[in-house]
C-alpha cells in the first residue's frame, strides 16, 4: 500500500502547482490587453493628479499669504478692519478656511472579510459605493453638521460624490477605502442620525464600520476646500 501513496502525493502536488500556474497565466492573459490599452490613460490620470496636487499646494500657499497680507491691518483703519472681518466670515462660509470643533468621525470600509468568505458572490455587494457615502453625508447634514470632509476633501456646495467604474471621486479627487468621514457639530445629534440610517444598514450587512465622538477639548480638524468655484454662466441678477 505504501508504495503507491508516495507517487500519488507527488502527482497531486504537481497537478496542484500546474492548476495554480494555469490560473495565474489566465489572469494575466485577461488583464494584459485591457491593461495595456488603458495604460496610456492611467498614465495621463496619474500625471494630471500629480499636477493638480502641485497646483493646489501652490494655491494654498498663495491663499494663506493673501490672507496674512489682508489681515495685517496697516494703521487701525476702521473700514479695513470691518472689511477684513467680512471677508474672513465669507471665507468661512465658503469652506475656504480650515475649521475645528467637536463632532463625530465615521470610518467605513469595504467588506473584505465577507468577500473572502464568499468568493463566488458578486464583489459589488462587498464594496462601499458612492451612494452609501452620499447617504451618510445627507444624514449628517440632517444632524446639522457645520462642516464635513471625506478623506480630507471638504464638502462644499458644488461638491459631487460619484464613481468612475469602482473608483470613488469627491471634488474630482480619487479616494480609496477606508473612507473617513469627519463632521463638526453636536456629537450626540450626529450620532443619533448616524445610528438610524445608512451607517446602521452597512453595519447590519457586515461592513466594518465604526465611529468616534470628539468633544471641544479634543476637536476634529477639517481642512479647507482646495478646489475652485467656477462661474462661467452665472451673472448677478441686477
Amino acid at each position: 500500500m505504501r508504495k503507491w501513496v508516495l507517487p500519488i502525493t507527488i502527482v497531486c502536488i504537481i497537478s496542484g502547482l500546474l492548476l495554480s500556474l494555469q490560473f495565474k497565466a489566465q489572469a494575466s492573459l485577461t488583464s494584459n490587453p485591457i491593461g495595456q490599452r488603458n495604460e496610456a490613460l492611467v498614465g495621463l490620470i496619474n500625471n494630471s493628479e500629480e499636477e493638480i496636487v502641485k497646483y493646489q499646494e501652490a494655491i494654498n500657499v498663495l491663499r494663506e499669504e493673501l490672507d496674512k497680507i489682508e489681515n495685517s491691518s496697516p494703521t487701525g483703519q476702521v473700514d479695513i478692519k470691518q472689511l477684513q472681518q467680512k471677508v474672513q466670515k465669507a471665507k468661512l462660509q465658503a469652506g475656504l478656511l480650515p475649521v475645528k470643533g467637536r463632532g463625530i468621525k465615521v470610518i467605513v470600509d469595504d467588506n473584505n472579510a465577507g468577500l473572502n468568505a464568499a468568493p463566488n458572490d458578486d464583489p459589488n455587494r462587498y464594496i462601499i459605493h458612492y451612494e452609501n457615502i452620499l447617504n451618510i453625508i445627507t444624514e449628517l447634514k440632517l444632524g446639522r453638521a457645520e462642516a464635513i470632509s471625506i478623506n480630507g476633501q471638504r464638502i462644499v456646495t458644488p461638491t459631487e460624490i460619484r464613481c468612475v467604474g469602482n473608483v470613488i471621486l469627491v471634488n474630482i479627487t480619487r479616494l480609496a477605502p477606508p473612507f473617513e468621514i469627519s463632521a463638526i457639530g453636536n456629537p450626540d445629534i450626529l450620532e443619533e442620525m448616524l445610528l438610524s440610517g445608512e451607517y446602521d444598514l452597512l453595519k447590519g450587512t457586515g461592513f466594518p464600520v465604526s465611529y468616534t465622538k470628539y468633544n471641544s477639548e479634543n476637536p476634529i480638524e477639517i481642512p479647507a476646500y482646495t478646489g475652485t468655484y467656477q462661474f462661467n454662466y452665472t451673472k448677478i441678477n441686477e
Partner: protein
C-alpha cells in the same frame, strides 16, 4: 491504518491547493479596483474631468499670484488693500449665494405621480453638480452645503422636505450651467434618469436660456466650528 496513510498526504495536497486558489481569488479582487481595469470610456471621462480641473486651478493660481503681486507692489497703499478685499468679497458673495443670480441652464420637472424619494432628489442634485452646475435651486429655494433633504409623513401622504418644509409637486429643480452638459450628465446610459425609469419615475428635462435662482434664505451659522488657525 492503511486508509489513514493515504488520507494524510491527500489532505495536505488539498489544503495546499485551497491556499493557492484563495490567493488567486484575492489577486483577482484586487485587480477589480485597479485603475487600469476600469472601462476605457470611464477613464477617458476621468482624464477629461482632471484636465478641466487642472485648467481651473491654473487660472486660479494666476489670479492669486496677480493679487499678491498687486498688493505687494503697493503695500503702503491702503486703497489697494480695500479694493482687493472688496473684489474678493464680491466673488465670495457669489459663492455663498448672497445675491440673486441668473444664467442659462436646465430645468428638471418632477410630476405629482412620480414615485420619488428624498434620496432621488439628492442624487439628481449630486449629478447636476458633477455635470458642472454653478448654482441649483429646488422649488425656488437656493441649495447650499447646509440644505437638508428629508421626508415627513401625514396620515395619507408622504412629503419630501427641504430644510424641514414640505416640497409641493411639481418639484422644479433649476440648475445654472451649460445646458447641454447638464442634460447629458443626467441622461447618460446607466445614469440617474435610467435609474429612475426602473422605478417608473420620469422627470421631464428642459434646457432654458435664462434661469433665475434666488439668494439663500439663511446664511450658515457656525456654533461648533471655529477657524483652525495654523501656528506657523
Amino acid at each position: 491504518m492503511n486508509k489513514k496513510n493515504w488520507q494524510v498526504p491527500i489532505t495536505i495536497v488539498l489544503v495546499f491547493l485551497g491556499v493557492l486558489l484563495s490567493a488567486q481569488f484575492q489577486t483577482q479582487t484586487r485587480v477589480l479596483s485597479d485603475l487600469s481595469m476600469q472601462k476605457t470610456e470611464d477613464l477617458i471621462t476621468m482624464v477629461r474631468n482632471l484636465s478641466d480641473k487642472r485648467m481651473q486651478l491654473e487660472r486660479e493660481l494666476e489670479e492669486n499670484e496677480r493679487k499678491v503681486l498687486t498688493i505687494k507692489n503697493s503695500s503702503s497703499d491702503e486703497l489697494n488693500i480695500i479694493n482687493s478685499l472688496n473684489a474678493e468679497l464680491n466673488k465670495l458673495n457669489l459663492i455663498n449665494g448672497i445675491e440673486e443670480i441668473k444664467g442659462p441652464g436646465l430645468q428638471v420637472i418632477i410630476d405629482q405621480d412620480s414615485p420619488i424619494l428624498y434620496v432621488d432628489i439628492v442624487s439628481i442634485i449630486n449629478e447636476l453638480w458633477a455635470a458642472g452646475a454653478e448654482a441649483i435651486s429646488v422649488n425656488n429655494i437656493r441649495i447650499d452645503t447646509n440644505s437638508i433633504f428629508f421626508y415627513t409623513e401625514t396620515e395619507n401622504a408622504m412629503y419630501i422636505t427641504l430644510n424641514h418644509k414640505p416640497l409641493t409637486f411639481p418639484i422644479l429643480i433649476n440648475a445654472i450651467g451649460n445646458p447641454n452638459t447638464l442634460e447629458k450628465g443626467l441622461t447618460l446610459p446607466g445614469g440617474i434618469i435610467d435609474n429612475l425609469a426602473l422605478f417608473r419615475a420620469y422627470p421631464y428635462l428642459e434646457q432654458t436660456e435664462e434661469i433665475i435662482i434666488p439668494a439663500i434664505e439663511n446664511p450658515p451659522v457656525f456654533i461648533d466650528a471655529i477657524i483652525n488657525k495654523k501656528t506657523p
